[in-house]
Symmetry: C3
Subunit: 135 residues, 3 copies
């Protein structure tokens, strides 16, 4: 079964670092080797893996995404959040991370982020840790 | 093993809702808890998860993607479908969905779409449902 | 456990075809049916699946990505590689491929690429092959 995280976002668009929460779920699963699947059950938020050291990286990424799908564009969808939908699909709704020796296998600068594109809202993130089959 | 779906697209670019077909494969697998992997073995079509309620969301998403990789751009690839290739990679060639209690764990508004960028064509979608290992 | 590939890139931005290296890891795993997960532990490189026949497809894709996140843009991140970060997230940090009959299930024209956006560098690619559980 999966574990559900609650993430409260505070801005219209924002990358929220959820690395430590995902690591906690992974540790509590007791799994030593396997895979960790992170799924966002929303259509105007996604999940991505990128640098979690210099916060200006996230600022720049959000700014490029705003440029790709501008809020001022001409959209049909009446709710006014069409750019949020395309940004969510550009980032993706799930990420898969390797688990080895009881740890998430990230590169030195990698972390995992909920990508909010229509906040502020309460968001859910599902984390499922799957152990390798016994050999 | 995977199950292969056949999807006939009817337009040059189009999001085709395949949620019910993927759900059917998942149900027929008999898996109660596990993961469902959806893979598109094409290079000018992809797969994404987004809103399947208001169809204008898909229209807007296609329109943004057309803006990002315009058909009128200057490309080297002689077949004239270079924009379709980059759009396919922007959406992705696979999606992973959680299975719990014999159901796909989607958010309220989520569905899964074949994203056609060089149609109309007959496309294939591979669906593989993997049960959790016995505890 | 995963197997680590070493990939040396030779340009600033480049798609490096790693299909045969991933296939080799898959073969050496001895797995007949399962899944192959490919993960890139970097924040300025990613991994995508697309056409590995006509190299002009990759040239066009890189050119569209340069247009989406231009090197000349105004960015906050001091290292000057902000475009590389967003391009990496647009492509994604992992790909999942089905394994059937001891082979990666790719479409006729598909291959898997390390997508370098801040080279030249030495990059790592992690490949993990997971067999289906015994029925």
């Amino acid at each position: 079964m999966s574990v559900q995280l609650q993430v409260s976002t505070s801005k219209k668009t924002e990358f929220v670092d959820i690395t430590s929460e995902v690591e906690r779920v992974m540790r509590e699963s007791g799994v030593q080797n396997g895979l960790c699947h992170v799924f966002v059950p929303h259509t105007t938020a996604g999940v991505t893996i990128n640098e979690n050291w210099d916060p200006s990286v996230r600022t720049d990424m959000l700014s490029v995404l705003d440029h790709l799908a501008p809020a001022s564009g001409c959209y049909r969808h009446a709710e006014g959040n069409a750019p949020a939908h395309i940004k969510a699909s550009l980032m993706g709704s799930s990420q898969t991370v390797l688990v080895e020796g009881g740890r998430l296998v990230f590169g030195s600068w990698q972390g995992i982020f909920l990508t909010e594109f229509d906040g502020p809202r309460r968001r859910r993130v599902l984390v499922k840790v799957v152990p390798d089959a016994a050999p």
